[in-house]
Every structure is written in C-alpha cells, then in structure tokens.
Symmetry: C2
Subunit: 397 residues, 2 copies
Amino acid sequence: MTEKDALATTDHLQSQGHNDHPNQDMKVTPWEVEGEIDYDKLIEKFGTSLITPEILEKIKKITGELPHSLKVQYFFSHRDFDWILKKYENGENFYLYTGRGPSGMVHLGHLIPWIFTKYLQEKFGSRLLFQLTDDEKYLYRQHSIRKEIERYTYENILDIIAVGFDKKKTKIIVDSKHIQYLYPIATDIAKRITFSTAKSIFGFSNSTNIGMIGFPSIQAAPCFLPSLIERKPTPVLIPAAIDQDPYWRMTRDVAERLGYYKPAQIHSKFLPGLGMSAKMSSSKPETALFVSDDPETIDRKISSAFTGGQPTVALQRKLGGNAIGCPVFWYLRYFFDTSDESDERYLKCKTGNLLCGECKGDLSNDSQSFIIDFKKRREKAKDVIDEFMYDGEPYDR
Amino acid sequence: MTEKDALATTDHLQSQGHNDHPNQDMKVTPWEVEGEIDYDKLIEKFGTSLITPEILEKIKKITGELPHSLKVQYFFSHRDFDWILKKYENGENFYLYTGRGPSGMVHLGHLIPWIFTKYLQEKFGSRLLFQLTDDEKYLYRQHSIRKEIERYTYENILDIIAVGFDKKKTKIIVDSKHIQYLYPIATDIAKRITFSTAKSIFGFSNSTNIGMIGFPSIQAAPCFLPSLIERKPTPVLIPAAIDQDPYWRMTRDVAERLGYYKPAQIHSKFLPGLGMSAKMSSSKPETALFVSDDPETIDRKISSAFTGGQPTVALQRKLGGNAIGCPVFWYLRYFFDTSDESDERYLKCKTGNLLCGECKGDLSNDSQSFIIDFKKRREKAKDVIDEFMYDGEPYDR
C-alpha cells in the first residue's frame, strides 16, 4: 500500500468517525466528554480549522517526516498552527504549552498528546511549559481531598518527565506551588472576562463556586508567560485534546488587548475507552490502561475489552469485523501500529482475515512492553524533578 | 462634666446620627459608600451587634483605659468581640488583621482604624497581619493602571509603618507579592462559595469580571493564616470600617467547615468628608485631608469646609451652631479632641459660644502638626520596609 493510499484510507476512517449513527448526545467541555464524538461537528461548533494537506506538507518539509499522530489524524484540528509554522520559517521560534489536571494516574490516552508535544519539541527545538492544574482539580469536586491531589501531582510529574522531554527546554508549573508567577497575568486576563462571557464559554451557573469561575484565568496565564520570559511578544502553540479549547478561545479573545499574540492550538481527538465510551476515562478504570497497571491487569482489561468482532469465529471469517467500531483497533492505530500496519489491520479485519484475539494479543503485548519501559523511566524521573520545576527564570540559555 | 455625663452626651449624638432626616439613599458596600449613613440601620441590615457598656467595661478592666475611638463610639459595632475578650482572659491571645486597598494616598479617615489597631496591639500584645489588596484595586476599575497601584502600594506601606505598629509583631501582605501564602487558603474558601452566595453578599452581576468574583476569597484568606502559622485554630479580630463587613460575613460562613474559628470583627464608622458627604473620599480630594497634603493645602481645604454654623456671627451668637451636622466638629471629635474637650465644644457651639472660625482654626492646627509629624515617621519607614514584609515564617518568636 502506498502512503497516498494509506492516507486515503485514513481519510475514509476519519470521515466515518468511530461509529456510523448520527449523534445527539455529544457533550464536550473541559470537565465532561460524553456520548459518541462527531469530530467534524466539534470543529464547526468550536470554530476551529481542520488540519489541511497543505499544513501536513509544510510540517514534512520542515521536519523531514510526518509524526504518527498527524498521519493517523489523531491531531486533526487547529487554530493558527499555519501561522506558527510561518513564524518558524521566518526565524521566530515558539513555546509549547500543555497541561494536566492531576486528578488521578495517567493512562495511555493522556500520553498521546504529550508524546506528540515531545516530537514538536525535538523537531522545532521549542521550549515547553507544562502546567499541572492542581487548584482546578481541588476546586472542581466538592469532596476532593487536597492530600490526594498532591499525591497525583507528584505521580503525574514523574509521568511527564518519563515521556522524555528535554530537561533544558522544559519547565513544569504546579499552580498551587507557582501561583506567584501566574497571578499577575491571571488578573490581567480575569479583569477582561465578565461572568456572562465565562458562563457562555464554560457553562457556569449560579451554583458554580467562585474558585471555578476565576480559574480559567489561571489556565490561560501560561499562554502569556513566554512573552514575559522573553520580554517580547512570543508565539505559543498548545497541543492538547479538543475539550480544552474553550480555555484558548477565551484566552485568544483577550490576547491582543494585552499586547500578546493569540495562542495557537493543535487539537487531538480522545482515545476511546476499552468499553467504547467517548474517551478513555480515569473514572472508569476498567476501560483505561494506566501507566501504573501491572501486566496482569493490562491483560485482564484487554481480554474483557469490547471489540467490533462477530459473535463467533466462523461469522468473523465470513462477514469480517467492524474495525471502525472497535476500541482495540483504535488503540493500536493511535498508539502502537504504524499507519501502514494499521491500514493493513483494517483491511484484514474487514475481510475476515483477522480474529479479535489476535488484535487483543497485539495490544496486550505492545501495552505491556510500553508500560514496563515507561515505569523504568518514571523511576529515573525521581532524581531530576527539581531540574524540571519552573523557578521564574529564563531557561535554556 | 463627669465621664458619665460625657458618655450620655455621646449617646445622644450617636442616636441622632450625623443629621436628622431619615435616609432613603444609604448605600454601603465594600466599593461604594453613598448617602447619609444611619448606623443603627446598618447594624440591623448587616446583622452585627452594638458594642455594649459591658464590653466597654471589660476593655477598661483589661487595658486600664478606654481608647478614644471607643469612648466616642467611632468603633460602634462588632461580631464576637466579647468572645475574643473572653478567650484573652482565658489566656488565649488573638491575631489582629486589617487591610487597605492601595488605590490612592491615605487620608485621616483611613488612619483612625489603624491607630485603634495599634492601640489593640499595644494593650493586648497581639500579632498583626496587614493586607494590601493591590489585586482588587487593579481588578475593580476597568481603566486602572498597574504601575499606579504599585506606586500607591509602596506609599501606603510607608503610611502603615508610620502609624507605629510593633515591628516584631506586624507583617504586611501585598496580595500580588505574597499570593503563594494566600492561594491555598483562598481556594479552600472559594470552593465553598457559590456564585449565588457571592452575588447576594456583594451584589455581583453578569457583567462583573471573573477576577472580582474570585477576589473575596483572597481578602478572606488572612483570617485563617494565623491558624496555619500557629498550627492550631487561632482567634482573629478584624478592626475595620463597617463597609468591609460583607467579606467577614462570607468568611464566617465557611470558617467552621474548614476547622477554623469564625473571625471576630470590630466595626468603625466613616469619617465624614469636609463637604458633608457620607465618608471622607479619595475620589473627592477637596473634602479629605491626605497625609501627603502640605500645610497650605490643609489650611485651604479646612477654610472652605462645610460647617454647621449660622450665616452670620450675630446669628451664631444668638441661635448657636449645629455641631451634629458639622464635619469640622466630627473631625475634631473623632481625631483630635479628647472626648471631654469634644463634649465641651459641642455645648459651646450649641449655645452660641463658639464660632466656626475657631473650630476651623483648631482643626487646621491639629491636622498640620499631626501630618508634619506623620511625614517624618513616613520618611523613617523607608528604612524598615523589608522587616515588615510577610515571608511565610512564624514571627515574634
């Protein structure tokens, strides 16, 4: 299969989404992702742009290769990513900014944007700010416990470092620890956002607590921190799942009034849960593969995963499987298979030449070896935490 | 006149308020004080308690003398002040906490609660936290300029130190500089206050910015900081003008749920403006005596002050003046006269034995010498700013 064919197949998969029936119940906010996701509709609803073949061509030209997440369109949407590339071509580098809400252990779905961010850092030589919104996680749930969030903040810092970001070019910000660097920018932003605006962007109500209402200005603040570090307006690119887009929409609204560039975004999809829910979710632990899971747990979760297979082997051989509706397929496609391997898997499944057990076996093996390796890197991360912590100083000089 | 007589006169003055007509337009919020103030109604509206003769007796017993601000009922209302005194008698000391919004230079009206706070610090040996809400001042006005607020923050720090607080027992917190110490407590509080609640307490609307909506949790935070410093629930007493009471009402609502004591308050009135407006106001500079004014300016402002006098000397001699409606009288009573002197002035004015020029002369002389002296102390304050700044460590050990 040529690369062109592969992309055509990908386009085909893409246009179908993960299932065929139209979706009435899709809900995508920074706090809830529910229902079957129609990504075309999301682009329309959020007012973002599809990543075009021209943009992909340009990235290939600059970096020499297209990253897997773009090949399989896991990152599919953007705002001003073309502008970022133009700036880069004109000799102006950008900062990367992404984040994590430390409400639990990290699963593979969380890692994809981080691995993509690492790719961008390597290829473009960009500095990265990584924010941990421990304050939001505390504010969001009425019964959240600070000690627990502190624990996950620590664990997630290890996860971030284990991804392999460049130590010299990467700084981690923990909101409650580094608030003094964010607060002046946050007040600049908050001053320009009325409750009406926040309500319409985030769906706040009269029963939302005043901490949550103020919080978007804290998540927005790192968008402008690079301009303070560099002492000049500095482009920022945010790779993150599309559910975070409301924050950047708000941030873009105030950026120019404050003398900054609008932050650019590149948006990912969600990794489906093994139970075929909207996205892999920490709140349904049986449907997600956590980096802290042991091999037996991974094997058990994958064994009981939902698939797009037929009820019997005979029917599978005869009718073929429904890869599009199969989380195991998407897992392998987005995380472990190359795009060529994945296209081939799709065809073999569809034509009855592949049984679910084989795919599950592949996913189990791949996940186990990935996680074993990841855990080793997590252990090593413990020794370098301090070097990754933001300290208000310019870095990578 | 015996002291008992004097207090009776004071009660009489008190019950009349500053003028005789009932007031429809009174507005008292942390951001606006408008109309003629009816303090009895405020106590009723805010649900606070009048300072009783029993409380005054107890203070006298503990401290040996009644401070001027209590003698003339400038501090007139409280919440749990009696509880604070009881705790003190049982060997448990309290922290004092008060603050200032650094939106301009300080006038004499601002100083009265600070001087009273200094008295409490001296007599009870209490530690004091003094908060400068530079963030709120920035957030409140759409066109506020950060540089200007930074300048006033510096000037106001000098004012605070010039009052003469005990260097060992006093720490100044500037919100934007010390946010890391306040933020964890502020999120604890904010999490427990819905927009509905904040709306009804502070009058927020859909057009309020999200920074202002979150801000009450920042002003509330120092109420609980002493408990963190002392590592046990620690009583806190807030001496401040009554317009700040909404913050403490909110704070008291969440205190016990967070394992702290409810902060106690002692509330002052407002010093009337020289134009007989509701309170001396920085936004009407001709009606206020600033500590930065030169002697000529003070003299000019007092010369053109509104008084309760008659149109001619002859009428004044014949009919007597209206001290109750005279800002010059109240200025002298609250700030410079002893309570005996003030009662005497009241009687002499009422009986036509005192002309407005004499009162204005007294006020001008007293203000000028106070301000000349205060400016000297402000100069000296420049050398000790660092020693007063909060640094997260226990102090006075």
